[in-house]
Symmetry: C2
Subunit: 337 residues, 2 copies
């Protein structure tokens, strides 16, 4: 019998709160027989959202009361100091206490990162946490980190990010020898600033399946399984993708509604357009991992709907089932040996 897999879910944060987060968490729960859930937040709201849920599913859910919510614009320091009974903090505390195997929140990224860092601490040997997410790519997806946990990264930190990304690719995504690349402004060895240059040298000797540098367009070609970059560049790249995808989506809608004839053509094109939308649906990729922390913390988009938030909870479940922090520790030990 496997250990109980309790996932702590902050259901009060994000744009929609328990009305969306509770049914989303239940959807993730019902698609996997292993986990149980601790829904953290205002009991009355959670009970209301749980009304009518089948008994067998309900039996796998407990409510962890929390009287506060961390605001989306709350400064991280304030959240740590003043929101000790928040849904976010309760979820993290359950992980720290060893009761929950992972926590999931759609709250304020800065506050979640700071609070989790403060409460859980780091894996020994990892200097900084990084935000890791899957990005759609040809024939599947590419894992990318850091997507904005940090303003910058030293060469040694980039090496650590590569190691963590490699572990997640192998143990969560089932890729035997994950191909690692460092994002740069050219593929030649001599390109880029000192930090990527030094990271390149470190990674050539790191015992990983390291390919070398790729440029931004390489994120989408499937040439690498893990793309490593500093949090500034990674966050700009991620937001740039989101902005461009939104603009193209808008332009597509525009062009297919411009005239009655075009609206008719859109009907005929619906299967193809629907398939395209499904393929690039950002909700499929919702749920970024804050790797490097001594516990699993998954961050959902604040605006996540039910489908999206359910995927973030699923990310928490698979990372918990694999015990990602322990796997990272083991890899660090193996590397050092």
């Amino acid at each position: 019998v496997a250990a109980p897999l309790l996932i702590a879910v902050d259901v009060m944060s994000g744009d929609h709160g328990p009305r969306v987060c509770v049914p989303a968490a239940l959807a993730a729960l019902s698609s996997d027989p292993r986990p149980t859930l601790a829904l953290c937040g205002e009991p009355a709201h959670i009970e209301a959202a749980l009304a009518g849920v089948a008994a067998a599913l309900r039996a796998r859910v407990r409510i962890v009361p929390a009287s506060q919510v961390v605001a989306m614009d709350e400064p991280p320091r304030e959240a740590i100091r003043r929101k000790k009974d928040s849904s976010m903090r309760r979820a993290i505390d359950l992980v720290a206490a060893g009761e929950a195997a992972a926590c999931v929140s759609a709250g304020n990224t800065g506050a979640l990162m700071a609070m989790a860092h403060f409460v859980l601490g780091m894996i020994a040997g990892i200097e900084r946490p990084a935000i890791l997410s899957a990005i759609p790519a040809e024939g599947g997806h590419t894992l990318m980190l850091d997507l904005g946990a940090n303003n910058d990264a030293s060469a040694e930190q980039l090496r650590q990010f590569a190691l963590m990304g490699s572990v997640v690719a192998r143990d969560v995504h089932g890729i035997q020898r994950p191909r690692i690349a460092v994002l740069n402004i050219g593929e030649e060895d001599i390109k880029g600033h000192a930090r990527v240059q030094d990271a390149h040298r470190l990674l050539l000797a790191a015992g990983l399946n390291y390919l070398g540098f790729i440029e931004g367009d390489g994120i989408f070609t499937g040439v690498a399984d893990v793309v490593v970059t500093d949090g500034f560049t990674g966050n700009v790249a991620l937001k740039t993708m989101e902005g461009l995808a939104r603009m193209i989506g808008g332009a597509l809608r525009d062009e297919f509604t411009r005239t009655p004839l075009r609206r008719l053509a859109a009907l005929a094109a619906l299967p193809a357009l629907g398939a395209l939308k499904a393929r690039l649906d950002p909700r499929r990729y919702n749920g970024a991992s804050m790797v490097g922390l001594a516990g699993i913390v998954v961050k959902s988009h604040g605006g996540a709907d039910e489908t999206a938030f359910a995927n973030a909870v699923r990310t928490g479940i698979v990372e918990a089932a694999q015990g990602v922090p322990a796997r990272i520790r083991a890899q660090l030990v193996a590397q050092a040996a």
Copy 2:
């Protein structure tokens, strides 16, 4: 009578050479009565590409012989040292001599930048050149720099980029008070690393129409006319856009050709899909400016086709007609006063 507007075009570089560059340059020439062209390269090849051109147009073209071509992978230093009779060098030399008002090349970016920097030098008061280009955005386009001339940028250099972007937006794109923003990983004043923080403070006092920080998605919303960033981040963002757009284009093609019925639907959808394609066509935005140099240098994509290369030549023409380097000098003087 206005001064003669001679544009020096390196027709030997890029993936296609004179076969594409010569007709493209002629297309740009025929759409504007003002300029004349100096086509730099192998005379026999250029003559062949000019065969059959109408006499009136032919009279506005002269051939500047060059026996060498800078290779696409040639190290910049080697290009400067050994390719003194290259089409690229001849085009730049014409600008340095004051004969041409601008030069245009589809060659190796690093070599073009290094050679132009070496031959033309910088505008006094500008420390580093930057690559500036228009990026498609809601309702038009956004100008963005630096797209990869440098590995990094100091706060003061970011301020200089903002000033140059503002001049190009105003004098080339006709925007009265260009709205300037600095790319960052959050919009709040406290976000980002020391370089963007310091640039923010400098720009608040720079006498420009400075909005503050924007995130990557803000590039596409039309909220700013000029987006300023360092060459590393800018190049990654640009390549990320190119890669994502290519992937979405490929997925669209895939989905509309998957079944006979979908291919039929694609026919009905052709006007909408064609309009979308035209709207986002990267060829419309071909022609990046290397601003900060003491002369106008326009870099075309290496793979540019006729439509794309013609647009790069047109960029050279409008920048030459406006005398961008002189305008930047004037702005620096006005700022200092």
